[in-house]
Amino acid sequence: MKRLLLVSTLGLLGWSSVASAQTVRGVDEFGAYGPSTTRDGSPQSGAVEIRFGAYNPRVDSSVAGTPYKDTFGDKTRFMVGLEGDWQMLRIPHLGTLGPGLGWGFTRASGLAVLTSDPEEISDETTSLSIMPIYLVAVLRADVFPREFGIPIVPYAKLGMGTALWWSSDGGETAYAGNVKGTGLSYGPQYALGGMFLLDVLDRQTARDADVSLGINHSYVFGEWYGSELDAFGSNKRMNVGANTWVVGLAIEF
């Protein structure tokens, strides 16, 4: 308990030092001085995210049984992804707004069961691969680091998502009768998250990255992410959406 208190105190002290340091800024005959959470660097027009998170599609929510859980179990699966944003507008005293295009991939695999005895597992691999793609409006409220020296950027995303999915048995595309085990699902997509500005940890490197590479800021982020890829409530599409968390790295350039 004491150790926890000590760590918390040190953390707060560190935080307060970062925050208070923002106040000692100015310009003298040598130019700008004092630490700055954000800098007037190269022009900023976009962001890129590398994303990683859990992904358990809600396939079973739209059917009578639990085929997904029965086949793949309830072990958490993971998704990797990329997102690129165009920071089209800068809203004064708030942040940036613009469209973002994202891509991800996840795959679940397990062993098929014997048709004659569903309790017995075969040696044939069966899998479901999902490739979500989405187009969202992204609002990043970078007013906090820019105007208050707080290195946190809350953000929100809202838009439409779609996902290509395909199922395979024994390495070949799966069929149920003559229905091919591939499809496309779509629906709304949304996310809420926060980014921690990494520039405050090493300002010199951050400055160098801006000068040499044009990277304005770098972040780690965490977000809660939801997608309802069920064609707006229809069971004609496999619901491969998920409510889940995502973490990752982001840069603004």
Partner: protein
């Protein structure tokens, strides 16, 4: 009486003789350059032609009596009638001591001698079996030294004698040739070494006294033995497939030359395979056991019709495909190498009994799910109105923005 005019005349005559002799000698040694142009080499029916180098020879090339077709270009036709064109293989064939009647030959003739023609000598046919005949039954002449090891595959057929010396047998694990007499002696590996061996073909303009006036060399490589088969072949249950697993050969030398694996099934894949096998089966009853295979036997290299799958060199599992449910299959695995040699199969074969299974998608559909049917499928019952509305609104916004600017 000293007569300066006679001396000059004699000198002129001697000089003429010497000069003419010198000119002839120059013609035989330097004036004709021979080349084998890139377009001057073809193979009649090389195994995996286009996927392997034209210079590569594997066991199947030898067994199928493939041959090279060469065209040799000559830079000059001057004095060509004085020479014969001979084609030999081996080591230092341009030396007369390397060829008969020398007692220490290191070369053998691989094509019939002919009269050269200017500017090209076309249609020089070099049969693979003839090309390999000189080194079969003895040490690898072209390597200049014994490659070590006796032929582990037997050497009982064809009356050839392995004189490798100094090495040891690999214990019969080498897959080349086999001990069966159906492999001609020319096509048998002469050592247990699995690496490719070089061989040089000499195209030579030969004088009447068998000295070489001009020559060009063409290098090929041959590899007649694939690595040893994998071990511990296991089968599993799948629908119309049999998941197979195995352990890679543990010999490091063998592992280095492995390029993949070939799966074999008996009966052969497909319904025709079941019919041809003559086994009595009921599609609704799981067979109790596999029959004893007469195809997948020790040291066998089965016919291509029994192929039922492949795997990459780093794999230790793959699916045997094209199988019929509830048919008992003997399944085995052989290695393949970079020369596309297929080794002997692992024995004894494993037994697989494919039967219907329920995968995820079938389970999903059985639970009432209606998704699927392709990426581009649209059902009449879905509600694409919302999607089209959103897309329409987006389009309107774009147009409005463009008009404003």
């Amino acid at each position: 009486m000293f007569n300066l005019r006679r001396v000059f005349a004699l000198w002129a005559v001697v000089a003429w003789f010497l000069g003419s002799g010198g000119l002839a000698q120059a013609q035989t040694t330097t004036s004709i350059t021979m080349t084998v142009p890139n377009t001057g080499v073809s193979r009649d029916h090389q195994d995996y032609a286009g996927q392997v180098f034209i210079t590569q020879i594997n066991l199947k090339d030898c067994l199928s009596e493939d041959f090279f077709n060469f065209t040799v270009s000559l830079s000059s036709g001057l004095g060509l009638a004085n020479y014969g064109l001979e084609v030999w293989a081996g080591t230092a064939c341009d030396m007369t001591t390397a060829r008969p009647p020398s007692t220490a030959v290191t070369c053998w003739e691989v094509a019939d001698a002919r009269s050269p023609t200017y500017p090209n000598v076309t249609g020089i046919k070099v049969p693979i079996q003839r090309l390999l005949s000189g080194r079969t039954g003895g040490s690898d002449l072209d390597a200049g030294s014994n490659t070590g090891g006796t032929d582990s595959t037997g050497g009982t057929g064809g009356g050839t004698t392995d004189v490798g010396g100094g090495g040891t047998s690999s214990g019969g694990t080498s897959s080349s040739g086999g001990s069966s007499s159906d492999v001609p002696s020319e096509c048998r590996a002469t050592s247990s070494v699995t690496a490719a061996q070089p061989l040089t073909i000499f195209f030579m303009l030969v004088n009447a006294d068998k000295t070489v006036a001009s020559q060009v060399q063409y290098k090929v490589t041959f590899k007649l033995n694939a690595p040893a088969p994998p071990t511990n072949v296991q089968t599993g249950i799948g629908e119309n497939i049999a998941p197979i697993s195995w352990d890679a050969p543990t010999d490091n030398t063998d592992q280095a030359t492995i390029d993949g694996y070939q799966l074999y099934c008996d009966p052969a894949p497909g319904m025709q395979g079941v019919i041809d096998s003559g086994i009595d089966w009921d599609p609704n009853i799981l067979p109790p056991a596999c029959f004893e295979s007469s195809v997948l036997t020790k040291n066998a290299r089965p016919d291509d019709k029994y192929k039922c799958g492949t795997a990459t060199k780093t794999s230790t599992r793959a699916n045997a495909t094209g199988l019929i449910n509830n048919v008992p299959y003997n399944v085995s695995v052989a290695t393949t190498d970079t020369y596309r040699n297929v080794g002997v199969i692992a024995t004894p074969p494993a037994c697989a009994k494919p039967q219907p299974v329920t995968g995820f998608f079938e389970a999903y559909r059985a639970a009432g799910g209606e998704g699927g049917g392709g990426f581009c499928s649209f059902s009449r019952h879905t509600r694409p109105v919302l999607l089209f509305t959103v897309l329409g609104l987006g389009l309107c916004l774009m147009l409005r923005r463009r008009r404003a600017t």
